[in-house]
């Protein structure tokens, strides 16, 4: 059977898209979690920085136009942490640098008590900067104090790294779980298809009945089409077989009538030329009936060839039965049928076809064998199971051996013998349908030897 072209795999498509989706979702989960956590951590640092700035500003006072700021210890201790982040500060009075680290500056909001935050770089380190202002009112003037407080971000970076690691683990876990789920979902879905495929494949070739097991809704249309296809196939096979049987009936019954009349008349007629004519008539009827039988058998075998019923057959028993059945025919010509088999010879095949083929071969031997000779039929087990039929007839003409199995081709020796030329063709076709072979040989001492092997 030709290999069906395959366009990708449903399972792979499903798995790839499900896992791809899971990976995308896991990545998104990781990013969102990390950003949110980073934001929360930053807010923590900001609120401490803001509080420190506010406490410094709280400590600022103006005395006689002089600004006094006593940097409170508490404000720095609240900034101390495990990572020993460094703290920088600068104090400005009306935008004039007063104290701290020169160069540390950042713009502030106009309103007091509203710190602004920004991330920047100072002295070669990433810092978080808070700027806050306080307007001091003295006896005769008002002045604005601005504090810029900066803290390096080592602690925050550490926190962020921990959070990222956790978020990554979470994402990976999610991905793994989703991947597992997608494999499971895919194999469950594909499993349904597999079950259907198996139960279709497991049926014998003769079983063309509808498929009745429940299937998922999505597969129902496919199964319905399959059932209707099988229904039509079954019907058309049945019609062909019925037609062949009916054709056989229509052809054979009138032939039988004519033949029986001709034979009966022959018993009553004495005149030589009438007898000659009647005999010719019987011969013609035999010829056409044999041709009709073989044509119909051939048609039947062709119809059945597409769905060969392979079953266990005992070749020895099958041939033995045939030999027994053909013995009366052989008797009529005073021929002996010798049958030999080495026990049971089990093969896998279509019994009807094999019987037909062997019968045609034995018929041939009976036709060509000289009277009172023996036709030897043997069934052997090895090297390949085979049936051998040998007679003492004229044998096959050497130069025609290759063409004898062609349809309607008869050997030169066959002139004057009734036949259609289909016998060997049928045997050959049956052999071919069973991956076997039909071998024609001439025997030493005259006669044909036909071997049908499986």
């Amino acid at each position: 059977m030709a290999r069906l072209p395959v366009s990708g795999s449903l399972r792979n498509q499903l798995v790839v898209s499900l896992i791809g989706g899971a990976a995308l979702l896991a990545l998104l989960l990781f990013l969102v979690t990390r950003n949110f956590a980073a934001q929360v951590a930053q807010e923590g640092q900001d609120s401490i920085l803001g509080a420190a700035a506010a406490s410094i500003l709280d400590a600022a006072a103006i005395h006689d136009g002089q600004v006094e700021i006593d940097l409170p210890y508490a404000s720095f201790s609240m900034l101390a942490n495990a990572s020993d982040d460094r703290v920088f500060y600068a104090i400005y009075r009306d935008d004039t640098f007063l104290s701290g680290y020169e160069g540390l500056d950042a713009p502030a909001n106009q309103a007091d008590g509203q710190p602004t935050f920004q991330s920047t770089e100072f002295n070669g380190a990433d810092v978080r900067v808070v700027t806050d202002t306080r307007t001091l009112i003295g006896a005769d003037d008002r002045t604005q104090i601005r504090i810029v407080l900066a803290q390096t971000q080592d602690q925050l970076a550490g926190t962020l790294e921990r959070i990222s690691r956790n978020a990554a683990l979470l994402g990976a876990g999610f991905f793994a779980l989703a991947a597992l789920l997608s494999f499971w979902a895919t194999s469950t879905t594909i499993g349904q298809l597999k079950t259907l495929t198996q139960s279709v494949t497991r049926r014998g070739p003769q079983d063309l009945s509808a498929f009745r097991k429940p299937v998922p809704t999505e597969m129902a249309p496919l199964v319905t089409s399959l059932n209707s296809l099988m229904g039509r196939l079954d019907q058309s096979l049945r019609q062909s077989e019925d037609f062949i049987a009916e054709a056989a009936h229509r052809v054979r019954t009138p032939l039988a009538t004519v033949r029986a009349h001709a034979e009966a008349t022959l018993q009553r007629v004495d005149k030589a030329e009438n007898r000659q004519a009647l005999r010719a008539m019987v011969r013609a009827i035999d010829e056409s009936s044999r041709a009709a039988s073989q044509l119909l058998d051939h048609a039947m075998i062709t119809v059945r060839a597409d769905h060969l019923t392979l079953q266990d057959v005992d070749l020895a028993e099958l041939v033995g039965d045939l030999v027994q059945r053909l013995t009366p025919v052989a008797d009529m010509k005073d021929l002996d049928l010798a049958f030999q088999a080495e026990g049971a010879v089990p093969i896998l095949g279509d019994p009807v076809q094999i019987q037909n083929a062997v019968r045609n071969l034995i018929d041939n031997a009976l036709k060509y064998a000289p009277p009172e000779s023996t036709v030897e039929i043997a069934v052997w087990r090895g090297p390949r199971p085979n049936v051998t039929i040998q007679d003492r007839g004229p044998g096959f003409p050497l130069h025609e051996m290759d063409t004898l199995t062609a349809r309607f081709k008869r050997g030169r020796n066959a002139e004057g013998t009734i036949g259609s030329g289909l016998g060997l063709t049928i045997a050959h076709d049956v052999a071919a349908a069973h991956d076997g072979a039909l071998t024609l040989e001439n025997r030493e001492g005259g006669g044909a030897c036909v071997c049908l092997s499986f």
Binding site: R279, V329, P371
Partner: protein, 222 residues
């Protein structure tokens, strides 16, 4: 022998039964399954010849009923259907043999003989004449207590001669009985078989006389 022929084709039935009567058999003809059942119930038959496609049903049904009723009359089925499809089912249903139409009358005879031989012991018709006992079913001849096994053609030839003692049987007619229609050289070959029969009958009081140009005749000495 008494036969029941179940066949709906009147022409074929006439031809077959007239031919069988010619051979000295008694033949009843039934054209339907109903008739056939009636015949079987009222008469005893040695053998039933059964067609498959009948106007009031399938011959296989008759066969099944026949077997179920435990009658042991052998049945030979005459089928016109494709051999391939019917072959196996028929024997399973209890037919003793079957024959595909159109058939050679000699083959029908041979098959009947084979089936009847298998029913050994039942209603055996033995011909006894002039110190010779002839058992056509078993195919042997007993001459003065000595058994001679006959080949099929010798047997059929002897059957013809014993069937009409004292009458002249033409060479052609005898040849028709003995040979299939495809060998032409048959009329002279008959002499060979006549020769063999003469040898078998040597010790008896039967002898086969040649009437030149007319044929042969079976005569009894004394």
């Amino acid at each position: 022998m008494k036969y029941l022929l179940v066949e709906d084709n009147q022409e074929l039935a006439n031809a077959v039964s007239s031919r069988m009567r010619l051979d000295g058999h008694v033949v009843d003809h039934a054209a339907t399954l109903e008739d056939a059942s009636a015949f079987v119930e009222t008469g005893e038959y040695d053998l039933i010849l059964l067609d498959i496609m009948l106007p009031d049903g399938d011959g296989r049904e008759f066969l099944k009923r026949h077997r179920a009723s435990e009658r042991d009359t052998p049945v030979i089925v005459l089928t016109a259907r494709s051999e391939v499809s019917d072959r196996i089912g028929l024997l399973d249903l209890g037919a003793d043999d079957y024959l595909t139409k159109p058939f050679d009358h000699a083959e029908l005879e041979a098959r009947c003989r084979a089936v009847l031989r298998r029913m050994a012991g039942k209603s055996r018709s033995v011909v006894s004449m002039g110190g010779v006992v002839f058992d056509p079913l078993a195919g042997h001849l007993t001459v003065n207590g000595e058994v001679v096994q006959l080949r099929n053609r010798e047997l059929r030839l002897l059957e013809q001669l014993l069937g009409a003692p004292g009458q002249i049987l033409s060479k052609q007619k005898l040849a028709d009985r003995l040979f299939s229609y495809d060998d032409d050289a048959s009329e002279n070959a008959i002499e060979v078989y006549i020769g063999r029969l003469r040898k078998h009958l040597e010790a008896s009081s039967l002898k086969i006389t040649t009437l030149r140009g007319l044929g042969y005749r079976l005569d009894q000495d004394g």
